[in-house]
């Protein structure tokens, strides 16, 4: 595992931003961006599945603790972490994954990276909001929440990605 310290910084930044900024953006019931998932998305492409899973567990539990939600963040984050290698391989191509490095628009191409980020975010948000609603009766509302929150999350995540990968050369 390389670049441990930047990732620790990213983890802390994601958690703090989520807890103190995005969780307080009570603009609308439809806007509850969970931007912290960007941490999982930004882990190196060639990271070990165990590492991903461990990171997901740590991130989810931290967010659960910080948001006072009993396990829902963990439940949503673990599948994202678990399925990330498969999704990355599917969207970005196996060569890119094998090559490794930090996923970024520069490395994967803007469109591929956007698709990759959106997929992970959507997966995460879908699990989160469906579990939060725990009923199919307001499915339309839930879907709207998922889509809008995901859009906002992706937008903010994009900014974080640009900041995180800004000073890095394209090939590490």
């Amino acid at each position: 595992m390389y670049r441990t310290i930047p990732y620790i910084g990213l983890f802390v930044a994601a958690v703090l931003l989520q807890v103190f900024l995005f969780d307080n953006l009570s603009i609308s019931i439809y806007l509850n961006p969970l931007v912290y998932i960007i941490f999982i998305a930004l882990l190196p492409l060639d990271a070990q599945p165990v590492t991903l899973l461990g990171s997901g567990l740590l991130l989810g539990m931290t967010m659960d603790f910080a948001m006072g939600a009993a396990g829902i963040n963990t439940v949503a984050t673990l599948p994202v972490a678990f399925f990330r290698p498969q999704l990355a391989a599917m969207i970005c191509g196996r060569e890119n994954v094998r090559e490794g490095g930090i996923p970024s628009p520069g490395r994967l191409g803007t469109r591929k990276f956007f698709l990759y980020l959106s997929t992970l975010t959507l997966l995460h948000h879908a699990i989160f909001f469906l579990l939060e609603a725990l009923s199919w009766s307001h499915l339309f509302h839930t879907v709207l929440r998922i889509l809008l929150s995901s859009a906002v999350s992706v937008a903010f995540g994009w900014i974080i990605v640009r900041i995180f990968t800004a000073k890095l050369p394209v090939r590490v």
């Binding site: 103190f20 599945p49 567990l57 659960d64 396990g71 829902i72 439940v75 673990l78 599948p79």
Partner: protein, 284 residues
């Protein structure tokens, strides 16, 4: 055996995922709002301080708006309070009139909105006007029925009465239960006493005796309490008494008043000024 280990190695991440996910879902499923509250309370021990800081900043930023909201609310409540007070005042004013039946005199009530004591020409401003049936020359009485003054000007919603504490004020008064009358006026000195002048030397006023209106005046009904005799002295020519009368009406604490209109006054005056009367006075 080795194959089994390799197999487990190949899928242990998936197993780990399933176990962790199951644990998390189990925990979430068994959680209640109580669990969440407890979790939040515990996490607030850590992040609460920062949250407090942010909340403080936000509160500070919204202070202006909050202030404006509060000011608006205060204004609205003040307005409501004023309405209630007005309604209550009106109800209290009306209650004064319950025992007064239909008579020659018409009654109305009003609140005092302005009252001076410190001038020589003191006036009382009332919150009822022509709209409420107030007209000039109505008598103004205190709630206990004692004399205060009479209305000299009216607008639609307000009226101004000449207070008894006005050196232009004139009416007739007498010692109760006697027929000797004199004129009531204020000498502009003490806002608690008025003068009953030109009282017959046979009246023999004693301190404490009631002084009431004589009914000869145009403004006041007969036997309206003015006050009590405080002191009396004969004038130099020993023809009449000048009596100091302690006012019954507490002019400094005048909040509400009763107004009395003489229904027959205009008729009487018309009669007095009629041509027939004038002819007779001219003839004499």
């Amino acid at each position: 055996m080795r194959k089994l280990i390799e197999f487990i190695r190949s899928i242990y991440v998936a197993v780990l995922f399933v176990v962790l996910e199951a644990a998390a879902i189990g925990y979430y499923a068994h959680s209640s709002s109580y669990t969440q509250a407890r979790l939040l309370a515990r996490s607030n021990q850590v992040v609460g301080g920062v949250h407090g800081l942010f909340a403080g900043i936000r509160r500070y930023l919204f202070l202006g708006r909050e202030n404006r909201d509060l000011a608006q609310r205060v204004a609205r409540l003040e307005e409501q309070l004023a309405q209630y007070q007005e309604a209550e005042t009106a109800a209290r004013l009306d209650s004064y009139l319950q025992n007064i039946g239909e008579s020659r005199y018409r009654f109305a009530t009003a609140s005092v909105v302005g009252n001076t004591l410190n001038r020589v020409q003191n006036l009382v401003t009332l919150n009822r006007g022509r709209k409420d049936g107030i007209e000039e020359e109505m008598a103004v009485l205190a709630p206990d029925g004692s004399m205060v003054g009479y209305v000299i000007a009216c607008t639609e919603r307000y009226s101004v009465a000449m207070s008894v504490l006005n050196t232009s004020f004139r009416t007739s008064g007498k010692i109760a239960d006697s027929d000797y009358s004199g004129s009531i006026y204020w000498d502009g000195v003490d806002p608690n006493t008025v003068i009953l002048g030109e009282l017959s030397k046979y009246a023999d006023p004693q301190p404490g005796q009631e002084v009431v209106t004589a009914g000869l005046s145009e403004y006041f009904p007969a036997d309206v309490l003015i006050g009590w005799v405080e002191s009396a002295e004969l004038n130099e020519t020993k023809t009449s008494y000048t009596v100091r009368v302690r006012l019954a009406a507490e002019m400094s604490r005048l909040n509400e008043v009763i107004l009395v209109a003489d229904r027959d006054r205009y008729e009487i005056r018309e009669l007095q000024q009629s041509e027939q009367v004038e002819q007779h006075t001219r003839l004499n």
